[in-house]
Each structure stands twice: as C-alpha cells, then as structure tokens.
C-alpha cells in the first residue's frame, strides 16, 4: 500500500469516529473510495456498525423531542403583542408623563395668579415691589410709584 493511500485510509478512520457512519457527511472525500475502504476488513465493518448505532440513537433521540403543544400559539400570540405592548407602553408613558405633570403645572399657574408662589425669575423685582407696598401707605400710591419709576 502506498503512503498516500495509507494516509487517506487513516483519514477515513478519523472521519468515521468524528462524523459517524454516513460518508456523505465526511468532508471532501471520494465516496467510491471511502465505500471500498469501509468494506475492507471485518474490524472496519465492526467499527462502522458501532458508529451507525450511535447515529441511529442520536437521530432517534432527536425525533423523540417534541415541542410542547401550546408553544406555537404562545409564540404567535406573544410576538406581535410584545411589539404592540412595547409601543403602547411608550405611548402610555408619554401620556402618563403629561397627565402626571398637568396638575402640578396647573397648581403652579394658580399659585402665580394668587401670588402664593413666585417663580424665581420674578422674585427679586416683585419682592422689592412688595417691600415698597409695605413701606407705602396705599395700593394707589404703590401703583403710582411704579409708574413713576
């Protein structure tokens, strides 16, 4: 037997233990040559039978694994709903934010109107004005004094 042939047969032997008995799964092999090798000796045929048995067990075990009945429905129901839910949540979040803020904004405006709350940017001038009001005797005088400034 030539060195090249021996090397090839050694490789077949490895393929048998790596990829199993189905020579179609062996990478880049001459199928006719590989088939001939598999029939060569009783020892090889015995190894082939063993690999076939393992292949069979693996395939059989995979076939036994069945997806649960409800899974299909679960996937179909949840997929679009999840996306919708996500969109709805975002919309809801925006709505929620506006809704939650509305009473505070209204209260702030009411406060400003009633003079109970004064925004910072108005505070300095208005505080001075109030001081003036206290210092002066009447509202008319206070108003008059503003006009005069």
């Amino acid at each position: 037997m030539t060195d090249e042939k021996m090397q090839r047969y050694r490789r077949y032997q490895e393929y048998l233990s790596i990829y199993g008995a189905d020579i179609l799964k062996w990478p880049d092999v001459d199928l006719a040559d590989a088939s001939r090798w598999l029939r060569q000796t009783e020892e090889i045929q015995q190894a082939l039978e063993e690999e076939k048995e393992l292949d069979f067990l693996l395939t059989q075990s995979l076939e036994q694994i069945k997806a649960p009945e409800g899974l299909m429905q679960k996937i179909l129901q949840d997929t679009p709903r999840q996306e919708n839910a996500q969109t709805t949540f975002i919309k809801h979040k925006k709505g929620l934010r506006a809704q939650a803020l509305a009473p505070f904004v209204a209260a702030a405006f009411m406060g400003i109107l009633l003079g109970a709350y004064l925004p910072q940017f108005l505070l300095d001038q208005t505080a001075d004005t109030f001081d003036d009001l206290i210092l002066q005797e009447t509202f008319i005088e206070w108003e008059g004094s503003l006009e005069n400034e």
Binding site: I18, P27, E43, A47, Q60, Q64, A67, M72, D78, T79
Partner: protein, 189 residues
C-alpha cells in the same frame, strides 16, 4: 421539502414578515419551531428553558425582519441565535464559565435517572447533557443541524481541527455511555 426550496420559501416569507404579515410569520414559525425547540432542548436539557429560548428566538426574528438581508438564511440565523441564547442561559445558571467546562466523569445515576433508564431516548439525551458544552454544541451543529464543518467551526470561533477534536471526543464519550458492551472499536489499528 428540499433544502433549497425551503430556503427560497423562507426568503419569500421573510419579505412578507418585514411588512408585518402575520400569516407569513405563522408559516415560518410552523416550519422552524420544532427544530428550534429541539436544538434548545438538546443544549439545555430543560423543557421550560427550551420553550423560552425558542420563543425568544422567534420574537427576535420578527423584530429583525424589517432589517433582513436577502442573502441571510432563516434556519442558519435561528440556530445561531438559539445557540447564543442557550450559551447565555448556561452562563447565567453557572453551568458554563468562560473557560471550557472540565470534562465530567460518568456520574452515578440519581434515583430518577434509574427510573427513566429504560427510556432509550432519555438516556441518550442524558448522555448528551453530560458532555461539556463545547462538545455538545459541536455535536448539535454537525449531527442535528447538519451544518457544514467550515460554518460550524466559524460559528464556534475555532479551527476545523479543533471542531473535529470536539466531535471525536463527544462521540467517544457517548459510545462509552450508550454502547457499553462494545469496546471502542472506533480506535482501529
């Protein structure tokens, strides 16, 4: 259905799913759900987790559809996502560190294992579960998903030689466990 027909059919369906066609999506789920679940189950050996993974993978497929590339294959994409999700789950549950999990010696079967010993398929699944994750992953890709060697090696980020080494060790170990009456005749002289 032939593989090539399936690929073409999937591509057509994905175009419709991108436009949010739920009927097309249903067809895709029908075509791939069983295999998706099987892959997740083989890798995780847990029905509930396998369901979650399959579900999550299909949700991602739906989300991915508008950005789908024409040359992508649904089955390849799904298997890749499922593998990654399974590896994440295994890491979370500390079944897998970033390093290769040390190979385990055949553990003593628990009473439950003894009870279900007669069920050959369960026995096979248990034997697969005992394999280190990388070996399991290689076995699933080559044997169950019929991924090509180059693609499998690329997806695992290893050389073809390393992939073959993982496969050879996986099969040897499975033979030791499942075919105990045969001495390892794969090791031919």
């Amino acid at each position: 259905m032939r593989n090539i027909d399936r690929i073409e059919q999937d591509a057509r369906l994905m175009t419709r799913v991108a436009k949010r066609d739920e009927t097309a999506y249903k067809e895709l789920v029908e075509a791939h759900m069983q295999r998706a679940y099987q892959t997740a189950f083989i890798l995780l050996h847990d029905q509930s987790l396998a369901e979650d993974i399959a579900q999550e993978a299909f949700i991602r497929l739906w989300q991915q559809a508008p950005k789908w590339k024409d040359n992508a294959q649904v089955s390849t994409w799904l298997h890749r996502v499922i593998h990654n999700l399974c590896i994440d789950r295994l890491r979370q549950s500390r079944h897998l560190s970033n390093e290769e999990v040390p190979e385990q010696i055949d553990p003593t079967p628990s009473p439950i294992d003894k009870q279900i010993e007669r069920d050959r398929s369960t026995q096979v699944q248990n034997a697969i579960e005992q394999l280190p994750v990388r070996q399991r992953q290689a076995l699933v890709m080559i044997h169950f998903e019929e991924t090509g060697q180059k693609e499998a090696a690329r997806r695992m980020g290893i050389s073809i030689e390393a992939l073959e080494s993982l496969l050879a060790r996986a099969r040897r170990k499975l033979k030791e466990q499942l075919l105990p009456n045969t001495d390892l005749r794969g090791d031919l002289k």
